[in-house]
Amino acid sequence: PHRTCCRTPPGATPAMNCRAEVLEVSVEGRQVEEAMLAVLHTVLLHRSTGKFHYKKEGTYSIGTVGTQDVDCDFIDFAYVRVSSEELDRALRKAVGEFKDALRNSGSDGMGQISLEFYQKKKSRWPFSDECIPWELWTIKVNVVNLANEQERQICREKVGEKLCEKIINIVEVMNRHEYLPKMPTQSEVDNVFDTSLKDVQPYLYKISYQITDSLGTSVTTTMRRLIKDTLAL
């Protein structure tokens, strides 16, 4: 996989022809990571396939995706994720950075993390490849501070219930069977899927985040683009 940086096509905003979903959660500081991972993993579970193996005449076969249960430590909640350590590491890294940024931003503790699925479209030199997003998930996070242990206990349960609702929402969106990129030929597969992982194949995605102040405006333009191959450890 090449480290090409995609440019958004001129005049295009993510909203154009791109499905956008927004989820909001209020969590305690130590719950941020698990809550984000739960949502991101649930989305990626639906947006990952087995590895493609192309054969002659344009046919291909698909590998197998395993799954595993994850229990949260700070939330009364469990979720299912794809059995892929590489993918888990990549998500944890992104979420860890988001959490740190939230913590360092001050006491307001508001931010959002975005998971964007895109397709690459090759352009001729000297233009770099275009990235055309087709689905965008945004999770808005509000960090709360709790005074005592009893409140924390209630928060554990409440956030657990909220996350259950979010999972149901995500599944609802997935079930609409709206636009998905067409299954690519062998030469096109890297424009649609991330083929760098050894055991599963998610659609091409990138994760970015923003920290906002209480007015909702972007304080630090920490728009880090985490291209997949830079995360390979």
């Binding site: 649930t42 579970l45 639906h46 396939t49 087995g50 590895k51 193996h53 054969k55 005449e57 344009g58 046919t59 291909y60 076969s61 698909i62 590998g63 197998t64 995706v65 395993g66 799954t67 595993q68 249960d69 229990d71 009364d76 469990a78 979720y79 299912v80 794809v82 059995s83 892929s84 350590e85 259950c164 999972i167 149901i168 995500i170 599944v171 609802e172 997935m174 079930n175 069977h177 067409k182 299954m183 690519p184 030929t185 030469s187 096109e188 050894k198 055991d199 599963v200």
Partner: protein
């Protein structure tokens, strides 16, 4: 435009729906076992994983589901339902959820069966995996044990929601349109349990108020028996599960990409006319079975991270055959025998549960043996490899078996993509060990002895008719990432074909040739006598 479904598509679709139903049941029941589930991803297609998802098949559950379906498929008015209920140690029970797989009349004629429907069914299964963790019963099932157990019941027909109490809620998992109707998967779950937190449920044993009321209100008797969501190994009546005769269990694994317009390579006409990859009816290829060689939770280890569900409970309460003591509390766990889904051999079915006897004695030396072998190879963490569905082993009909190969075909197995399964064993038709060639007239003592080997082999073969290796875990080997691990290697090369030089015909021929060519060779050697002498002298 031809909107009628081709017969091939229809067959495929029926098969997809059937296996989707079976996998749905597996996911639901496994999600209520009370343990974390963990399966491995595999980059190379094993050819046995339906919908490209690693979902284990618990044989008992498959059996119950097939029994309930009785060869039918979900259709309008005929839904497949999985009822999850809770039963306390006092004997009171309460329905918690009903999962419904329904079919309605809304057809989508345009949709491509072997491709789009298949992928959407796969997506729906993923959604089901996610949703099963999100309903209240999940948390209850994780805490099941001595106070209560979770039971499941599968039935087919009209959905009966009255047992869920008032105000039950429904969550839709998803829908998939097909040319014959729209498949809908949903869950209705009780909520007037909500005021009773799980803590209460654990600490106050008799929940008399609610359960008795509910019990009285039950308008209909259970039409099928409840089963615990713990693996119930070794039935009290010793029932084994004959595989239902299924024909054509093979599914396609290959997908075609229609070439996009900007694609450079030329596509020949032949490609366009090739129908989507086929389901062949009978395949005379070596039999492939499904091996679930896994590492059961070694209970002695006590690691909280053992993601694999403990499917065997330590003690079987003889008085309540349908109810097992909660899992994970005592005893060792023997590995689950795998069940090659092959319907014709009764002998084989008995072999399928060879470890039942071991199971009954809780925490016996045998189970500690198992824990030993497990701990040798166990990683302790769910994150490290669990080869639940990873290995396909070559089910070798034992050497010296004389039965015709026809009975043992791929078509009888419940694996998708069987035609793409690796064919790395030569066909048994050619295997002289299995079909010893006819004996020629004895020409030499050597030939005579070769022949008698073959025939004695076949005669002993008749006594153990089916020798099928169900599961194999070589000691000290780690079944992990490498496709060719020790176990696979052993299985594949356990019954090598007879050396061609030892086979009678060729042996006889070459012997005859040798004898004939002897005079010539002697003549040549005599000519070169001087050279030989010189050579010998150099040696001295």
């Amino acid at each position: 435009m031809d909107t009628d479904l081709s017969s091939q598509d229809r067959k495929d679709l029926d098969k997809f729906i059937k296996f989707f139903a079976l996998k749905t049941v597996q996911v639901i029941v496994q999600a209520r076992l009370g343990e974390k589930i963990c399966t491995r991803s595999s980059s190379s297609p094993t050819g046995s994983d339906w919908f490209n998802l690693a979902i284990k098949d618990i044989p008992e559950v498959t059996h119950e589901a097939k029994k309930a379906l009785a060869g039918q498929l979900p259709a309008v008015g005929r839904s497949m339902c999985v009822e999850i209920s809770l039963k306390t140690s006092e004997g009171d029970s309460m329905e918690l959820e009903i999962w419904c797989l329904e079919m309605n009349e809304k057809c989508d004629k345009e949709i491509k069966v072997s491709y789009t429907v298949y992928n959407r069914l796969s997506l729906l299964l993923k959604s089901l995996l996610a949703i099963t963790r999100v309903t209240p019963a999940y948390r209850l099932s994780r805490k099941q044990g001595h106070e209560y157990v979770i039971l499941y019941r599968i039935y087919f027909g009209e959905v009966q929601l009255s047992g869920l109490g008032e105000g039950f809620q429904t969550v839709r998992v998803g829908t998939v349109g097909t040319p014959v109707g729209t498949i809908t998967l949903s869950c209705a779950y009780r909520i007037n349990l909500a005021f009773m937190s799980t803590r209460q449920l654990e600490r106050t044993p008799p929940i008399m108020g609610i359960i008795i009321d509910h019990f009285v209100d039950r308008p209909y008797p259970s039409s099928s028996p409840m089963h615990p969501c713990n693996y119930r190994a070794g039935e009290d009546n010793g029932a084994v599960y004959p595989s239902v005769e299924d024909s054509q269990e093979v599914c396609t694994t290959s997908f075609s990409t229609s070439p996009p317009s900007q694609c450079v390579f030329t596509v020949t006409k032949a490609h366009f006319q090739t129908p989507p990859p086929v389901v062949t009816d009978t395949l005379k290829v070596p039999v492939m079975g499904l091996a679930f060689s896994h590492q059961p939770a070694a209970l002695g280890v006590g690691s909280a991270d053992m993601g694999f569900p403990v499917l065997f409970a330590g003690g079987l309460n003889a008085a309540h055959p349908h109810q097992l003591i909660g899992p994970g509390k005592e005893g060792g766990v023997p590995p689950i025998p795998s069940q090659p889904a092959h319907g014709t051999q009764a002998d084989q079915e008995r072999m399928c549960t060879p470890l039942d006897g071991v199971h009954y004695s809780a925490a016996t030396p045998s189970s500690s043996e198992d824990t030993e072998t497990v701990s040798n190879s166990s990683e302790g963490k769910c994150g490290s490899p669990h080869d639940l569905l990873e290995t396909i082993f070559i089910r070798k009909v034992g050497a010296f078996v004389n039965k015709p190969i026809n009975q043992v075909t791929m078509a009888n197995l419940d694996i998708p993509f069987a035609m793409f399964a690796p064919k790395n064993v030569e066909l048994e038709d050619n295997d002289p060990m299995v079909n010893p060639p006819d004996s020629p007239e004895t020409e030499s003592p050597l030939q005579g002895s070769l022949h008698s080997e073959g025939s004695s082999g076949s005669s002993t073969g008749n006594t153990h008719d089916d020798f099928v290796m169900i599961d194999f875990k070589p000691a000290f080997s780690k079944d992990d990432i490498l496709p060719m691990d020790l176990g696979t290697f052993y299985r594949e090369f356990q019954n090598p074909p007879q050396l061609s030089s030892l086979s009678i015909d060729i042996g006889a021929q070459s012997m005859a040739e040798d004898l004939d060519s002897l005079p010539e060779k002697l003549a040549v050697h005599e000519k070169n006598v001087k050279e030989f002498d010189a050579f010998v002298e150099t040696l001295q």
